[in-house]
């Protein structure tokens, strides 16, 4: 089958690899009908998440049709149309039973790596380095999925692939980001980053009762989309964000601030340069936390900072004094995708949330290197790119790797 393969820093190619097989009785094989490139895939491609190995299959946002199930799979049958949540839940441990599926105790086959880095290991994740299990990803024609009964979510009749694909990650991630904002009716929420997660965070903040959302980015197409979703916008290359946020909120500051950027945030000035230089060493600092710093500074006293953005290791100069003296709360985590699926599917079915608005590019799998390139550099107005693993390559011109 064809699969998108990590070949080293900034090298992504499509290769022919063996088809996946059932390896354990609770596995299911899914014929992937749609997959997407996530912002956090860029951290892998840029080499800031350690323990990727040449030849690893990428991708954790994917869905498709079940074609084969192991002998112990009960609830899922061949022919079922399913979305595959990116965190892997065993369904049995304390965390899974309490809806904290991205913290599953049992699904990471390599927990020692995660424990060395983070003290404890979270769940296994598809296509997301050997720290999170080394599971092959779903940017491929077929994918092995594990603990099928606990993880595969059947798509209701009448919804298209594009409507439900983002249930695998970014839609619940934006939603949990908004939920973690602890929104009271009428609250003002600021969102740093108007990529896919930030945009879904904006949508979700309104669904959860925010009165105003102020969105911050620098790319006009993203800011346009944020405005269409009802947000007021700030371009941080043109506005002094902190002062503007204060002014827009009567000097109080936003009640909650979301960092939907994560470990590769863009920043100018000596601080930004210092972070960038340190990060390239992969040792002095693994994460560039500019957006997190800005979020902590901007949040009103007693407010909440929500961090759906991905951080991997160690970041310098977090303004912990501001955090403490302003009495802030911070809430974060990899998304517990499973707990939001019913709620969000309901919102989609009733037309209250339309996840397809963020899709700007639809490409065949052979064009994955190009897709990574335009998504990473925000070329060609790219906000979100989905890949068709079965597209005829003749329909698409071959392209270079990023």
């Amino acid at each position: 089958m064809k699969a998108v393969v990590w070949q080293g820093i900034n090298r992504v190619q499509v290769e022919n690899v063996p088809d996946p097989e059932i390896l354990q009785p609770t596995d299911a094989i899914v014929r992937v009908t749609a997959t997407a490139i996530c912002g956090s895939d860029l951290h892998l491609v840029d080499g800031y998440v350690p323990s990727m190995v040449h030849g690893d299959i990428l991708g954790h946002e994917f869905m498709g049709e079940v074609v084969e199930v192991g002998p112990e799979v009960r609830d899922v049958r061949p022919g079922d149309r399913v979305v595959v949540p990116f965190p892997i839940s065993c369904g049995k441990c304390w965390y899974c039973q309490h809806g904290l599926t991205s913290l599953c105790d049992n699904s990471n086959p390599n927990p020692k790596l995660a424990e060395a880095l983070w003290g404890y290991s979270g769940s296994g994740l598809y296509g997301y380095s050997h720290i999170t299990g080394g599971y092959a990803g779903g940017q491929a024609q077929f994918a092995r999925t594990v603990y099928a009964d606990q993880n595969l979510y059947k798509v209701p009749e009448g919804l298209t692939d594009e409507q439900v694909l983002f249930l695998t990650d970014i839609l619940p991630t934006g939603y949990m980001g908004a939920e973690n904002c602890n929104i009271h009716p009428g609250d003002v929420v600021a969102v740093f980053g108007c990529g896919p997660v930030g945009l879904f965070g904006i949508m979700s903040a309104f669904v959860l009762g925010a009165g105003r959302v102020i969105a911050i980015d620098r790319f006009p197409e993203r800011l346009d989309l944020a405005r269409k979703l009802g947000a007021e916008t700030l371009n941080y290359e043109e506005d002094a964000v902190f002062e503007r946020l204060k002014e827009m909120t009567g000097g109080r500051g936003p009640d909650s601030v979301m960092d939907a950027v994560g470990l590769e945030s863009h920043a100018g000035g000596p601080g930004g340069v210092a972070d960038a230089v340190k990060q390239t060493t992969r040792v002095l600092e693994s994460d560039r936390p500019h957006a997190l710093r800005a979020a902590i500074m901007a949040c009103r006293k007693g407010g909440t900072v929500s961090v759906p953005g991905v951080y991997g290791g160690l970041a310098d100069k977090i303004p912990v004094g501001a955090f403490m003296n302003k009495g802030l709360t911070m809430r974060t985590g990899q998304t517990h995708v499973h707990r939001y699926l019913d709620t969000l599917t309901g919102h989609i079915e009733r037309g209250e949330v339309d996840p397809t608005v963020i899709i700007t590019h639809r490409l065949g799998i052979d064009e994955a290197p190009h897709a990574y390139d335009i998504f990473k550099h925000k070329h060609d107005g790219c906000i979100k790119c989905i890949l068709d693993p079965w597209a005829d390559p003749k329909d698409h011109a071959p392209t270079k790797a990023p």
Binding site: V5, C93, P109
Partner: protein, 251 residues
């Protein structure tokens, strides 16, 4: 002053041999003398290193043991204590463990345990040893408090004399049961043997920790997760690199 581990085993802080103390003490004095003739940072560095070595030697702290974190009891045994919380009842876990023939299902280094005799208190253990060999011994249960605690020790003549106990404690809320295991054993080759074993990735504490994790997964899920046999585009040396990361392959 002796330290006490979580399970009550006395661990001696004095864990280096007289020869070792002499060697490192001498080295420390040498470095301090050398530092007196240096200026600036290198002098500070040498002096500090010398002082550390000397004080370590004076207190009887083994540099090797400190670096490898091998803990020894007063009578030169290795002591290990680890715990895990499993979402099962105390009784289920006690019953599972009390049948020692279950132990090789999650203790990776055990090949088999055969219970001998009617009361199940005596057993014959076969463990995997380096280079495909095995080590065998007989053991007996020395304490058995149903639903609370089991203790055992190897009988006379064991190559690796060992003893251990496991306690089952109800965890708070709906967490299930805490299992606390502690083992002491005298490795062939003393501390050196333990250090070599650690360097070969056979460190006893980590092993027990992994065993307990395997037990949790066996009882909560019924299987270990695995990625072995999944597709990739790996070639040659990359396969070895992936294998290095994927330390929990289950073939």
């Amino acid at each position: 002053m002796a330290q006490t581990t979580a399970n009550g085993t006395e661990v001696s802080p004095q864990n280096s041999s007289p020869a070792e103390r002499l060697l490192f003490g001498g080295l420390g004095v040498g470095l301090i003398l050398l530092s007196l003739r240096q200026r600036g940072n290198s002098g500070v560095f040498l002096g500090t290193s010398g002082a550390l070595l000397l004080s370590g030697a004076a207190m009887g702290r083994s540099v090797g043991s400190a670096l490898t974190q091998v803990r020894r009891t007063e009578d030169d045994q290795i002591a290990v204590a680890r715990a895990v919380t499993i979402g099962k009842s105390v009784d289920e876990l006690y019953t599972f463990w009390r049948d020692f023939e279950n132990l090789p299902r999650f203790m990776d280094h055990l090949e088999s345990v055969k219970v001998q005799g009617g009361d199940g208190r005596r057993s014959h253990w076969v463990a995997k040893a380096p280079a495909g060999t095995t080590v065998e011994w007989d053991a007996e249960i020395t304490e058995d408090e149903p639903g609370r605690r089991i203790a055992w020790r190897s009988l006379e003549g064991a190559t690796v004399p060992n003893e251990g106990h496991v306690e089952f404690r109800p965890a708070p809320g709906d967490w299930g049961t805490e299992i606390h295991v502690s083992l002491t054993y005298r490795p062939p080759g003393g501390t050196l043997g333990a250090v070599v074993a650690r360097l070969l990735g056979e460190e006893p504490g980590a092993q027990v920790g992994e065993d307990l994790r395997r037990l949790k997964r066996l009882l909560e899920v019924g299987q270990e997760p695995t990625t072995e046999g999944q597709p990739s585009a790996r070639k040659g040396v990359m396969k070895a690199e992936a294998k290095m990361y994927d330390n929990r392959r289950t073939t």
